[in-house]
């Protein structure tokens, strides 16, 4: 978003068997969270059964990033789908805890564990 050589925050999107896996990377803040939001909205237009967001490479997230996760969760609930977060780093987890949103998300330590469900 910000510049061509800056690594994109949305690193990868995989869709298979009704499950979409989105891998984010780097620092998620107001400069790139609208782009992440846009990506998720587009993915959800295909109404996947499950959306998994891999946060293992996300070193920082502020409330604008958390807001994107919350918005995705609400959209999944409307269509009856499930949302899971993968490999939430301690720093990102803290932000979810401070905002008391950790209770709303299903969190998996690894991608394999998320896929096994």
């Amino acid at each position: 978003m910000a510049h061509e050589q800056v690594p994109e925050t949305v690193k990868d999107v995989q869709v298979a068997d009704g499950t979409a896996v989105v891998t984010l990377t780097g620092e998620v803040d107001m400069s790139n969270s609208p782009g992440v939001h846009q990506t998720l909205v587009e993915i959800l237009q295909n109404r996947p059964d499950r959306l998994l967001i891999d946060l293992g490479e996300v070193s920082y997230m502020d409330s604008s990033g958390v807001g994107v996760l919350v918005d995705a969760l609400r959209r999944m609930r409307v269509t009856g789908g499930k949302l899971g977060l993968i490999a939430v780093t301690p720093r990102v987890k803290s932000v979810l805890q401070i905002t008391k949103l950790d209770q709303f998300f299903e969190i998996f330590p690894t991608r394999d564990e998320a896929m096994a469900r």
């Binding site: 803040d29 920082y60 502020d62 409330s63 807001g67 803290s94 932000v95 805890q97 949103l101």
Partner: protein
């Protein structure tokens, strides 16, 4: 440099001033600067994270609410290490010339509601030891935040086991 260590040398700890345009792309640079300075003051990783997060949230709010996302505003961040009653801390001032608001109306919302938005002020008040909004003479807002190095950190209503929420350094 060793002369600067310790509390009595407050005169030798003047402030650092960072001025950025009201554009989200500059948030990362300010975070890097705040993190580095808090680290040099000897703050724990948890406390550094808290200063960085609060500054980011406050700047994002100035961009959104103070400048209505227009990129041509200016925001000033002033960082000043302090020593009060034997406690080392960092004062973070955020000044803008955007639209001002009644400080009493800047507050966090009820978190039971599952919706995006309305989280920033709650985060700021949770992680910082002192938070004070003021209208500036001449227009715009001034936010004064203080974080102490040995701070008990996140307010008791935040769960205590997380990296940012826990204040044990």
């Amino acid at each position: 440099m060793s002369k600067q260590t310790g509390c009595r040398k407050r005169a030798l700890r003047p402030c650092v001033r960072l001025t950025m345009p009201s554009m989200p792309r500059y948030l990362a640079m300010i975070r890097a600067a705040v993190g580095c300075l808090a680290g040099q003051e000897g703050f724990s990783d948890e406390t550094i994270d808290q200063c960085v997060l609060a500054t980011d949230e406050a700047l994002s709010n100035v961009i959104k609410h103070g400048y209505a996302c227009s990129p041509d505003g200016g925001i000033e961040v002033i960082l000043r290490p302090i020593c009060r009653a034997g406690r080392t801390g960092l004062v973070i001032l955020i000044l803008d010339r955007g639209r001002d608001t009644n400080p009493t109306r800047i507050g966090g919302r009820d978190l039971c509601d599952l919706r995006p938005g309305g989280l920033g002020v709650h985060i700021i008040r949770s992680v910082m030891d002192k938070v004070q909004y003021r209208r500036r003479g001449g227009g715009g807002m001034l936010l004064r935040m203080v974080k102490f190095k040995d701070s008990a950190s996140a307010r008791p209503d935040s769960s205590g086991s997380s990296r940012l929420a826990s204040g044990t350094n």
